[in-house]
């Protein structure tokens, strides 16, 4: 379900990671001298999301870019491209990704799965016409989802804070090095621009269903995205064995034990228990938060500008 949309984000990351670093760097520098004063809401900081103000603005910025740029192009792609071709394109990039899946199988010592994934890659690349047809699926070899962030988690690296990256979407402190490695290990990174453009189109087109669902179901799309992203990642990391039981225990604990202190953390904390503690143990530097807030403001302003541009264009048309 969500997996596709977030996989899509991952793939976008592959492509744009390099520029993002530069963008963030510049913004942080530029906004260093900008006036501050982000309205402080009296909201308890979520330990998993200490940069919520920054993240929310970034989320809004990404949404604007998506609705004015990515979505129109993706809709056009979906409209002109026959379904079988879209499936072929999806299979092709998915197959390339399996190089990285195999590497991470090995890094996580999942050797049996690594063998099967190697077979999958070989079968689809040969009989599957370079990956256009998912032959392995009909043999019963399911696509596995492994990446370097999962490997880092298996190695014991803590998740760190939740971050929404410009253009790239939801991630975590651990997810950034993860994506960099995945980008480097994906053959699609080393081909020309047109292929990468198709890859991005494919990612966005595949995320359509999930994004529509969020739009329909979420009362607070930012929180909805954050929670489902973190839970989804957690589920991948633990290969579906995430602590469903703990979840219930914690939620019930809040009810049974009338202890406001223990109940103050949101459900996400109970879900990501380990990581939350780690975050809490390293108090966030106030200056860092401020810088993030300032950067987020500039994104907010950019957002407003895009909206203005849009409305101007509308007026012109009229």
């Amino acid at each position: 379900m969500f997996s596709k949309s977030f996989r899509a984000c991952d793939r976008k990351k592959l492509f744009q990671l390099a520029c993002t670093g530069v963008v963030i760097g510049t913004l942080v520098t530029l906004t260093g001298c900008a006036t501050t004063g982000v309205a402080e809401q009296k909201v308890e900081a979520n330990p998993v999301d200490p940069y919520e103000n920054f993240n929310r603005n970034m989320y809004g910025f990404n949404n604007s870019v998506d609705s004015y740029v990515a979505k129109p192009i993706s809709d056009a792609y979906r409209w002109v491209t026959p379904q079988f071709l879209q499936t072929g394109v999806y299979n092709f990039f998915n197959n390339l990704k399996n190089v990285n899946v195999v590497i991470n199988d090995v890094l996580q010592a999942k050797f049996d799965q690594g063998l099967q994934d190697t077979g999958r890659l070989a079968l689809n690349t040969t009989l599957g016409l370079g990956g256009l047809v998912d032959v392995a699926k009909s043999v019963g070899w399911q696509q596995n989802d492994e990446d370097f962030e999962q490997t880092l988690a298996v190695w014991g690296v803590p998740q760190g804070s939740y971050l929404v990256l410009p253009l790239l979407g939801p991630s975590t402190a651990r997810g950034i090095p993860g994506s960099m490695f995945d980008t480097a290990a994906n053959p699609a990174t080393y081909v020309g621009f047109p292929v990468q453009l198709v890859s991005m189109l494919n990612s966005r087109a595949n995320a359509e269903g999930a994004l529509k669902f969020i739009d329909e179901a979420a009362l607070d799309p930012y929180v909805f995205t954050r929670e489902s992203f973190l839970q989804w990642r957690d589920n991948l990391i633990t290969d579906g064995k995430s602590e469903a039981k703990n979840d219930l225990l914690d939620l019930e604990g809040d009810l049974d034990v009338k202890n406001p202190g223990a109940a103050s953390d949101s459900a996400s904390v109970s879900k990501n228990d380990g990581s939350a503690k780690e975050v809490a143990s390293t108090p966030v530097d106030n200056k860092t938060v401020q810088t993030f807030d300032q950067a987020s403001q500039s994104f907010d302003e950019a957002n407003t500008k895009i909206d203005r541009l849009k409305s101007k264009r509308h007026k012109k048309r009229k």
Partner: protein, 203 residues
């Protein structure tokens, strides 16, 4: 894919329904409660087109009320923020939450293309709850894992959470509801819920 997404979320959407008391009928086991609910859901999907939105809503309402502990869910979803609500506000929330849950099922489970639920396992939790593990088989797509958490209410078992492919509906909702209550307040929460119900009924 879209279907898988829908299924997952929809399940989740339900819980918060109104405080209609869960009446103890003949004592069913946790597994029976879940399987009965799943069967009713599949049934609604099969008749989805003929029933239309209103028909699905009416049919699914019964099924949800008879299988979920909506009171408890509504309390969990607002978490600590619930302590700040007046009795009237809590009642209002129960009411709209229940409508939202049923509406989202009615909106999302509208057609049938060969899906079926398969029971996997049942286990007891340390606090006297039961988790029923199952999955939904979708033709030509990856199966979706559904874990139901049940607690005993009086003498009957009631669903209080559904975890679809590792995403806990209750945890997701709780984060959303408490955040909105903290940032925007009670009225905004109710308005947002009503807006969603409206959208569901239109599509």
């Amino acid at each position: 894919m879209l279907k898988a997404i829908r299924f997952t979320m929809i399940f989740a959407a339900f819980f918060l329904a109104a405080p209609l008391t869960a009446q103890a009928e003949t004592a069913e086991t946790a597994k029976q409660v879940v399987e009965k609910f799943q069967a009713e859901l599949i049934d609604v999907m099969k008749q989805g087109k003929q029933l239309g939105y209103a028909g699905r809503y009416a049919k699914i309402k019964e099924a949800v009320i008879n299988s979920h502990d909506l009171n408890k869910i509504a309390r969990i979803v607002v978490g600590k923020e619930g302590e700040k609500l007046t009795v009237e506000q809590q009642n209002k929330l129960d009411e709209v939450f229940s409508n939202l849950s049923i509406a989202s099922y009615a909106h999302n489970f509208k057609d049938y293309s060969g899906e079926s639920f398969v029971f996997d396992a049942e286990e007891e939790t340390t606090r006297g709850g039961v988790v029923v593990h199952s999955h939904l088989v979708i033709p030509d797509d990856k199966p979706v894992k559904f874990d139901y958490m049940l607690k005993e209410n009086g003498s009957s078992w009631r669903i209080i959470n559904i975890i679809a492919n590792g995403v806990s509906d209750l945890a997701l909702k709780r984060s959303e509801y408490t955040t909105i209550l903290q940032r925007e307040g009670f009225d905004s929460l109710i308005n947002k819920i009503n807006e969603k119900i409206d959208n569901y009924s239109k599509q």
